[in-house]
């Protein structure tokens, strides 16, 4: 008797639970409602009797949803909490027992089977409670959901579109992106792809397809996007709403080889980089290199869009220079696997051979006297950029007169008569929409050729895309191209055999290649 009981004046008789014999096996046990030990109870009754042990469920492979009869489709990840809830809800008669626990039993995702172990309690024999575990097997049957099958019946009807834009004067980014998309098969679910001014539109039959495409883009280029939805139709009877979704995706307008004059705030944020910097690489972030110090910085999409600066000069404004003298490097650096050497060079513009410039360049490792190079003519050009103007006023010695961007191989290329390459790339089935802006085929073709040259000159760019062997190319030319002095070419080992191109695609590609 506790002190509290004594204080409250209550008298409480101590009660000891007695013991009886299990009526079946005779083992002594505390009395329960059935007066049978747990083991005997189990052997006596199966509380899972009449509960479903196997059941079929429907899964839409297009959008990854499970059917909750009669008409609801529920999105759930493999072995997720949502899927478990769904699985339990699908069981009939489960209300006869009390569910204590449920967990997935691992199954191979390809087996099209889901196994769930359920632990249930139920009253048996005069109210004794028995607990029991049992497995339930779900057979997963593929079945297109309504919106997916509606789409299949009418494949041209798109539900979601991705409007990909880059507000620059050329399409080089899109040529590169096209190859990335092909390589990763990222747009295979697009119903229609349309080339428009400053961008590409992708149309999808399903919102989730568009969603995953945007996710892909986010991983390969610095983007910013917005999603809008628009009610297309509303069926009052079935209370079905039909929406169209639009993703407006903007790609960062800074491209490889662009010259940027960083705003003061950004430059100091990057440890007083530049502010005159060259963009050397664009992936999910952009790489900025100061050609005069070989210092570099990486900006991801979020960091970029915070200030949203623009390029001062872009690759279209590159000017050809002759290189007269290259001094031994005064510094070296490796940025993202690419080696750079800081040298002073004597150069003159092709257009005004008499005016010599003595400038710093980060291309000291590849330039030799007698070479040609492409660079930005800051001395002669009328640069229309506020940041550049601010910078010009703030420095005593004035701006550098020229910034070289890359070595130029035009000379070597002109020597070659034929333009046929030993390799080629695939193309997306893209329609051209010129209703919203004139597409100049000549300019387009020239830019594409530049893009192919870029691929040849930069192994780093080729890394993420698939090149295919060109059957029309004659072997003999290989020798002349790899004689050391020539323009860089793609090593034959990098080419993929054309085995995975179907005959039809091959034809298309060939035609396009011919047109180049």
């Amino acid at each position: 008797m506790s002190v509290m009981d004594q204080q409250s004046g209550m008298f409480k008789v101590q009660q000891t639970i007695g013991s009886v014999l299990c009526c079946k096996c005779g083992v002594p046990m505390p009395p329960n409602a059935a007066n049978m030990c747990v083991n005997c109870l189990r052997s006596e009754v199966d509380i899972t009797e009449g509960l479903q042990k196997s059941i079929q469920i429907f899964y839409c492979p297009e959008c990854g949803c499970y059917l909750q009869p009669p008409k609801t489709w529920i999105k759930a990840q493999w072995e997720s909490k949502e899927l478990l809830t769904f699985c339990i809800k699908r069981l009939k008669n489960l209300n006869k027992v009390k569910l204590k626990n449920a967990e997935f039993v691992w199954t191979e995702p390809h087996s099209k089977r889901i196994k769930v172990k359920l632990t249930v309690q139920a009253e048996v024999l005069n109210g004794a409670v028995l607990e029991q575990s049992y497995p339930v097997e779900y057979t997963v049957r593929d079945n297109l959901c309504e919106s997916c099958s509606r789409f299949q019946a009418n494949p041209d009807q798109w539900v979601a579109s991705v409007q990909l834009r880059q507000h620059v004067s050329h399409r080089r980014t899109f040529f590169y992106l096209e190859q990335l998309i092909l390589r990763h098969d990222a747009a295979s679910r697009a119903i229609r792809i349309q080339q428009v001014d400053q961008g590409i539109d992708f149309f999808f039959g399903n919102k989730s397809h568009a969603n995953s495409f945007v996710e892909f883009l986010r991983k390969v280029v610095p983007i910013e996007y917005r999603q809008d939805q628009q009610l297309v139709s509303h069926d009052v009877k079935s209370s079905l709403y039909n929406y169209k979704y639009t993703y407006s995706v903007k790609i960062c307008p800074i491209c490889r080889e662009d010259l940027v004059c960083l705003p003061q705030k950004v430059a100091s944020g990057l440890g007083n980089l530049g502010p005159l910097v060259v963009c050397t690489k664009v992936s999910d972030n952009i790489t900025l290199l100061d050609p005069r110090t070989l210092r570099c910085a990486f900006l991801d999409a979020r960091q970029y869009w915070r200030s949203g600066f623009r390029s001062a000069l872009t690759s279209r404004q590159l000017v050809k220079y002759f290189v007269f003298d290259v001094e031994p490097p005064v510094g070296e650096a490796t940025v993202g696997g690419q080696k750079y050497a800081l040298s002073y060079v004597q150069i003159a513009r092709e257009s005004d051979i008499g005016k010599m410039f003595y400038v710093q360049t980060h291309l000291g490792h590849i330039l030799k006297p007698g070479d040609q190079a492409l660079g930005y003519d800051i001395y002669g050009a009328n640069v229309n950029d506020n940041e550049m103007e601010k910078y010009r006023l703030s420095v005593k010695n004035g701006l550098p007169e020229a910034i070289l961007i890359k070595k130029c191989y035009d000379e070597h290329r002109e020597r070659k008569q034929k333009k046929t390459r030993s390799w080629k790339v695939k193309k997306l089935p893209m329609e051209v929409d010129d209703s919203r802006g004139r597409v100049d085929p000549e300019k387009n073709e020239k830019e594409y050729e530049e893009f192919l040259r870029d691929l040849e000159e930069n192994p780093e760019l080729r890394f993420n895309i698939s090149l295919y062997r060109n059957k029309d190319y004659q072997e003999s030319e290989t020798a002349s191209m790899t004689d050391g002095e020539g323009a860089p070419s793609v090593p034959i080992e990098e080419l993929l055999a054309e085995l995975d191109l179907s005959a039809e695609e091959e034809e298309d590609d060939d035609e396009e290649d011919m047109a180049e």
Partner: protein, 247 residues
């Protein structure tokens, strides 16, 4: 050895349809087959009278009446004819008495052997006096494992008793000290706590419901110690009750 019995076809609540004492045995006359009666007869014929009867319109005589070797108490629903029939059939020394107790299920409200009775706590004072007079026993108002229907959850003989399986250890000690026989908590009919429905005993025989397991049977045997052969000696006189000298 205790004997398994069945009332008609699937009913194992034999205690509901019979009343066994050391001096007589009542068997429900509503049984559809003769097996129930012959089950008792196999053990009791020639030893004590076996009387078939019903009480009022009911055959559940075991729950309605309470009796010991000296007397039989009947509920107010018993007809005059039935009272007369019982008086005619039972030995003369058995007092047959009808009560006015509102609780007519006397069998469920009272558990007794030849010397002591445990009764429902709310039993009429008058009934308590009748019990004392007719059955010649000492009366204790009790509950068993929080149940007021002490007659349902207890079977007593002069040798021992079985009580509800949930009866606490302390409670059992108290009960045993009242009735002065050893008690055991147990079950009948495969785990059922309704002891008196599945078990009816006197000092030398025990009958159990047909569902009673061998384990339960062995518990019954060990506490009530029924004997094998016909106990001729019991007709003459029972054990000299020590309580007589005690009182």
């Amino acid at each position: 050895m205790a004997i398994r019995l069945q009332y008609d076809n699937n009913t194992c609540e034999i205690g509901v349809y019979s009343k066994l004492t050391n001096a007589y045995c009542l068997v429900s006359s509503t049984s559809g087959s003769t097996n129930f009666f012959s089950g008792f007869a196999s053990k009791l014929r020639g030893v004590i009278p076996i009387v078939m009867t019903s009480i009022g319109e009911s055959g559940t005589i075991g729950t309605l009446c309470v009796g010991k070797k000296n007397g039989l108490l009947l509920p107010h629903t018993t007809t005059d004819q039935q009272v007369q029939h019982l008086r005619d059939s039972l030995p003369d020394r058995v007092l047959v008495q009808r009560t006015e107790e509102p609780l007519c299920a006397l069998g469920n409200a009272i558990a007794c052997n030849d010397y002591f009775a445990l009764v429902h706590p709310k039993l009429e004072k008058e009934t308590e006096e009748i019990i004392t007079d007719v059955l010649g026993v000492e009366v204790f108002r009790q509950t068993i494992a929080n149940n007021e229907l002490v007659g349902s959850y207890c079977s007593l003989s002069n040798k021992g008793g079985m009580v509800h399986p949930d009866t606490k250890v302390e409670e059992m000690e108290e009960l045993a000290s009242l009735v002065q026989v050893p008690l055991v908590a147990g079950t009948v009919n495969r785990g059922s706590p309704a002891i008196s429905a599945g078990l009816t005993v006197n000092d030398w025989t025990a009958f159990c419901g047909s569902d009673t397991t061998s384990i339960e049977l062995s518990v019954v045997n060990s506490i009530f110690k029924p004997i094998e052969s016909h106990p001729d000696f019991v007709i003459g006189d029972l054990r000299k009750p020590f309580i007589d000298t005690y009182v």
